[in-house]
Amino acid sequence: MAIQVQTETIERRQLSIWLAIAGLGCAGALTGLIAQYLRQDNGADGALMTLGGGMAIWVAIGFLLARRTAGARPARDRIAWVSVTAAAYLFAWLIAYHALLGAREHLGFAQVWPQMRYWLVAVAPACLALGFIATESLRKDVLGDICLALPLGWSLSEIYSNARLGGAHIAVVSIPTLLVASLPLLALRRRWWSLPVVVVTVLVIGVPFHLLFPQFSLDS
């Protein structure tokens, strides 16, 4: 009897893992399509195009979703499984984004592949990083605070660069990116040192990133 219950529990857990992977895959495909759709829209002085071709907000959405699955996973192999769900999101995002690009620009696979392939290569290390950050952001210590601040850190460059381009870019790119990247901070522990930890993390990650890749986007 005990063995049967244990087997059922394991199977239920496995099912929830595969459902989480499928869910993040669907979410990635949907956001990838939205991003490419925006990428082709030159409204709002090109701000929609910038938002669609940006990276920070879409990766931050992936982080939020991966973090949600991390909370539901058992401790064993949690980082590894969350990395797999992050990979599902990133792969689906990239494939949907480039598939819509090909469909709308009348490009064949041979023409889209060179643009897409290096981002696919980047998914393997990126999903590990995202899985680690999303899982460790659940910790109730300084490392947890740092992980919660990282999305704002990698978004800082895009927020700042677009804020300098005027009202349309501020409204369409900077503010939405800032809001999405700040969402994880709602889970921040209310300790006096949490705020300095966040500020330092954002600056340590954001400033060098901005200096190294001032025009970072899917087109670069």
Binding site: Q14, V84, M116, R117, A124
Partner: protein, 159 residues
């Protein structure tokens, strides 16, 4: 799949990720389909058959496309001939839309022709739709700049 032990399932998922990323790293992808000069001309003619140029314009009878040599023939990306035809169509109507010698009504008709057709697929290339949208709002300068480029484009004599 559900009955797989967790570690084995995890290993399988990791292998899939590494396989996709690894394949992307080493595989250059299929060679892009190409045309010879004859293929470009055929594409151009096919696209020209479905588009109507502005009054006073006609499709070129001869296209000056470098065929290369027998030993080293030139290759063109598929869609190149279609793009050439689309661009000529755009030039014909854009030039008309910004012409100061035409009555406002004729210019407006040309703009509407551009606007209507460019929104309807299939168009092989991203034509400067924003310039047309701007012109419809009264900001004609961007379309004028685009139209002024038409005469300078290789292989596309204005008339």
């Amino acid at each position: 799949m559900l009955a797989l032990p967790s570690r084995l399932a995890l290993l399988s998922a990791a292998l899939v990720i590494v396989a996709i990323s690894g394949a992307a790293l080493v595989w250059d992808g299929p060679a892009a389909p190409t045309w010879s000069a004859d293929g470009v001309v055929a594409e151009y003619r096919s696209e020209a058959a479905r588009l109507q140029l502005a009054p006073g314009w006609r499709w070129q009878k001869e296209l000056s496309i470098d065929a290369g040599t027998t030993e080293t023939p030139m290759h063109y990306g598929k869609g190149f001939g279609t793009q050439m035809a689309d661009y000529r169509w755009f030039c014909s109507w854009a030039t008309r839309a910004v012409s100061k010698r035409l009555a406002p009504k004729a210019r407006r008709n040309a703009l509407e022709q551009l606007s209507t057709k460019m929104r309807a697929p299939p168009f092989s290339m991203k034509l400067p739709e924003s310039a047309v949208a701007g012109a419809l709002r009264g900001e004609i300068q961007y379309l004028r700049e685009d139209a002024s480029m038409c005469g300078k484009t290789v292989n596309l004599p204005v008339k």
